[in-house]
């Protein structure tokens, strides 16, 4: 059972929101005492996803939650946008695949950096990505 301990919402509409957003994620990670390597992995994954949201949907909203399960605590981030959506999820999760001009490491890379990764998308309606990083994960 995953219990939510705190919630924080932030909307991303400009490129400059990226830096304050990273700081908010960092605050949540520091609050639960996450080590520096896991912190860096979480923030980097968050950075990839926010960039995707910005690039393909022009922005969106992120929910930052501190969660706990038994003895473990962690940070869960939910990225929601109302962009064009992803037609082929398995293709989007492949290393090196990109419809834009990026390296195509965003989604698969972010998945490798966190403990739980969930991607839902409906073409024409938007995309929701949820990631979770445990303190000692």
């Amino acid at each position: 059972m995953v219990i939510t301990l705190s919630k924080d919402r932030m909307s991303i509409s400009r490129e400059q929101d990226l830096v304050p957003f990273r700081n908010r994620v960092k605050e949540a990670a520091v609050k639960i005492g996450m080590g520096i390597v896991n912190q860096t992995k979480l923030i980097t994954a968050a950075s990839e996803l926010v960039r995707n949201m910005f690039r393909y949907a022009g922005g969106g909203e992120v929910l930052i939650e501190v969660v706990s399960k038994g003895r473990e605590s962690g940070v869960r981030l939910t990225f929601t946008d109302k962009g064009p959506g992803i037609a082929d999820l398995s293709l989007a999760m492949q290393d090196g695949y990109s419809t834009g001009k990026s390296l195509g490491l965003g989604l698969p890379g972010a998945k490798r950096l966190v403990n739980e990764f969930d991607l839902k998308s409906t073409v024409g309606q938007g995309t929701t990505v949820t990631i979770l990083k445990w303190k000692n994960g």
Binding site: R22, I43, T44, R51, S102, G109, L113
Partner: protein
């Protein structure tokens, strides 16, 4: 608009990134550096990222681009001072920054660039000898 200062040190350019980069700032740095290498005829670029806590795939790509672009202009790029957590994260992300030289700190980065420059000069001298 924020700008990242580029310092000239002899035949090399030194950039110390002290702030968290957002995309526009990184892109500006890329174009500024390439311009500066061209203007000054610098033979090496040293980028100190010891104060940078996050390098994502975008930043990684910018670093790779800078290295490739300056190489075309005959200047090697060395990235120095990467934090351990950043290095581990980049590897996990799947980015090994191929083509970018790395060094532990600014001093060693400078030594590496100097070494490459000396070697280049030696080769050039040898060529000259051969012609004579």
């Amino acid at each position: 608009m924020d700008k990242i200062p580029i310092l000239r040190m002899g035949p090399f350019l030194l950039v110390t990134i002290q702030v968290d980069l957002y995309d526009r700032l990184a892109l500006n740095l890329e174009s500024d550096l390439v311009q500066k290498v061209h203007q000054t005829g610098a033979r090496g670029v040293l980028i100190d990222i010891s104060a940078v806590s996050i390098v994502d795939s975008f930043m990684g790509r910018i670093l790779g681009n800078i290295a490739s672009m300056t190489r075309v202009l005959d200047a090697e790029t060395v990235v120095v001072g990467m934090q351990p957590a950043v290095a581990i994260t980049l590897i996990e992300l799947g980015l090994s920054l191929k083509g970018v030289h790395t060094a532990l700190d600014v001093e060693r980065g400078m030594a590496l660039l100097q070494e490459k420059l000396d070697w280049d000069t030696d080769v050039a001298d040898d060529d000259g000898d051969n012609i004579e």
